[in-house]
């Protein structure tokens, strides 16, 4: 009996391939096609050339969304690349109650993003806990507009993302730290290297690839941010609609019974192009690291 016919491997991968083509490749291709049309949710459309892309250029909300994404990335990437590493270094030690602290730090990851965002909403509201405390302690006379100020809302959302992401990336670093040679640390200590020197010369090179991976993951998720901004600022994007992300704009454009699927598709293509940049950067950095 022969099993090694030429088509055997194709048959084996066929189900996965069909799944991939049907639910990933074709929707992506179709999105590209739709981006050149004015299709709506329930009615057909026609080819409109680059009109949707011209609308993107003219849309001030897209500019706001891109600016917000860049800021989100600029703040989240360094914070979520370094802070989880420092936390991982703290909790990797075999000290009493470390298991408890690891659990506490990981807890925000387990909690639903919506639940966490709603809790933060209650904390930061005009009549929320933070404003209440600030006013009780006479730190401020008026409520701080965490959820209504253009920039305060954005940075409240960034703080939420960082807080929620710390535990997740800490776990990734914990596994990476297990691969750092302990003898190098001991040798460096014997040579008189202090804790900072050992961190920079032994730990960081040991987890460099993981740091690159984390940085890219954070960058991509920052560019695709939705839940935190949506819950804290609402679907309109805060007072004045400037606290929006590209994903929120896609959702707004495609929603309802007369959603503009053509325009939403062109925004999706833009989001794809924007998020692919960090991925290409990862490939480049990986290649350099290997060299």
């Amino acid at each position: 009996m022969r099993f090694h016919r030429w088509y055997t491997p194709w048959l084996l991968v066929a189900p996965a391939l069909a799944w991939l083509l049907t639910f990933s490749v074709w929707p992506a291709v179709n999105t590209g096609i739709l981006s050149f049309t004015n299709v709506r949710t329930l009615t057909g459309g026609r080819f409109v050339g680059l009109a949707n892309y011209r609308n993107i250029v003219d849309d001030p909300q897209v500019r706001d969304a891109l600016l917000n994404s860049v800021l989100y990335m600029a703040v989240c990437v360094p914070l979520l690349t370094l802070l989880p590493l420092l936390l991982a270094l703290l909790v990797e030690r075999n000290l009493p109650f470390m298991g408890f602290f690891r659990t506490v730090l990981y807890f925000p990851v387990v909690a639903s993003a919506v639940v966490v965002a709603v809790i933060w909403q209650w904390l930061l509201d005009q009549r929320g806990l933070v404003n209440g405390l600030a006013q009780q302690l006479h730190l401020t006379h008026e409520a701080i507009p965490f959820l209504t100020g253009r920039w305060l809302l954005l940075f409240s959302s960034i703080s939420l993302t960082v807080w929620k992401g710390l535990g997740y990336y800490m776990i990734i670093y914990l596994s990476a730290l297990g691969n750092v040679n302990r003898e190098l640390h001991e040798a460096a200590a014997v040579d008189g290297a202090g804790i900072v020197r050992r961190f920079l010369s032994v730990t960081v090179p040991g987890v460099r690839r993981t740091m690159i991976l984390v940085a890219v993951l954070v960058a991509v998720s920052s560019l695709r941010i939705f839940t935190e901004l949506y819950i804290l600022g609402g679907s309109a994007g805060g007072v004045g609609g400037q606290d929006v992300s590209l994903v929120m704009l896609i959702q707004n454009a495609a929603g309802g019974t007369s959603g503009r699927l053509g325009y939403a598709s062109s925004l999706s293509v833009l989001l794809f192009l924007v998020t692919i940049v960090p991925m290409l950067l990862l490939a480049r950095l990986n290649r350099k690291a290997e060299q």
Binding site: L21, T41, L42, G44, Q121, G234, T257, G262
Partner: protein
Amino acid sequence: MHSRRLLTTALIGAAALALTATGCGVGGGGGGATASKTVASDAPITGTITFQTWSLKNDTFTPYFTALIKSFEAAHPGTTVNWIDQPGDGYAAKVVSQVTGGSLPDVVNLPPDIAYSVEQAGGLLDLAKNVPTLTADYVASGRKAYTYTGVEGTYAFPWYLGADMNYWNKAMFTRDGLDPAKPPTTLDELIAQAKVMHDNSGGKDYLMSREPDLGDIVQTGTDLMNADGTKFVFNTSAAAAMLDKYRTAYAAGYLPADVLTNTYQGNNAAFLKQEVAWTTGQGNGIQTVGETNPSLAKEMVPSPSIGTPNLNVQGISVSSKSKHLALALAFAQFATDNQNQVDFVKIAAGFMPGTTAAADDPAYSKSDGTPAGDASVIGYEDLQKAVNFQPLQWTQDMTTVLKQQFALAISGKESSQQALDNIVSKANQLLSD
């Protein structure tokens, strides 16, 4: 080698078929042939259909619908009506998926805006063409809500109608030095009394508690669209003056500070907590509040809507793709005939039937002397002059822009005129896309 090429070709063909089967292409849509279908008056009424309602399956309404269907099936042997009910949230999305998936129920409860979108996709039967007595049997305001500019026909039987009216908290009025027998009847009076309430309560009580919307623009006498319904034109000085008044009131603290934010609890919740002395609702507002908060219900004083009341209307449509059109049409007509609508509004208190026979019934205009009875009569009277403000061309996207720009104007970050110009400009761009 030949068999290998053949298999490769077959695999590619199968993959291409899978791809095209899943793709949602460009095209389709439009009313066309399906909407203009005619149902022969002598067509046999047989078969099985599905009837869909919106959030009406509960202890109050289930017995009504069960009896309604049983009665229809008994009158038409050989027919079966399967009743399904969709939850309140996400109804538009559910209907969209039913239309795109080709599974829209034969008879379906749709509000005018969703019905418009389904009609645009050719999914509804023109009732004006198939029901000769439509004009005589159903009220004009209800029919108008399902008759669309530039589209021939009427796309639902008006089912039950309601109009917004006001409810005031008598205890808060009295406590803050206002006369509950003389509630505001204009925006200026509302702001003046809001000031009195604010000043006398030390800023703890509110009379105004909601952002303005399209309806507030209409109340200024401004037309939302031009005569042929092709452009929005509501960026008038009168509308700007209305927004200016809201801005001044907000700055003075007559509205809750968080009214413009996503975290705002909403006017109704604030009214139930007795933080706010004004809310709007249907004619059954006092009974509804009384079920959960009897002490507040005793303090509620009804009054007619400020300006022209907003019309809320629900209709029953027939899917043009139904395989049993005659049966679907007969059932939709049966469910919305005068007797069944009168029976329905007995349990849907605060609403009125959409039939002309019921609209002329003097029983609806007599109060039993209680505030709840007065509210029912006010609701009936408001209904006679109520208008559905929102143009069908108005989309969710446009509402988002309006909320954003109104928030900027009221919080003083942008002039009212600029905000209105921005909304009109963006809405017209979205309209032409």
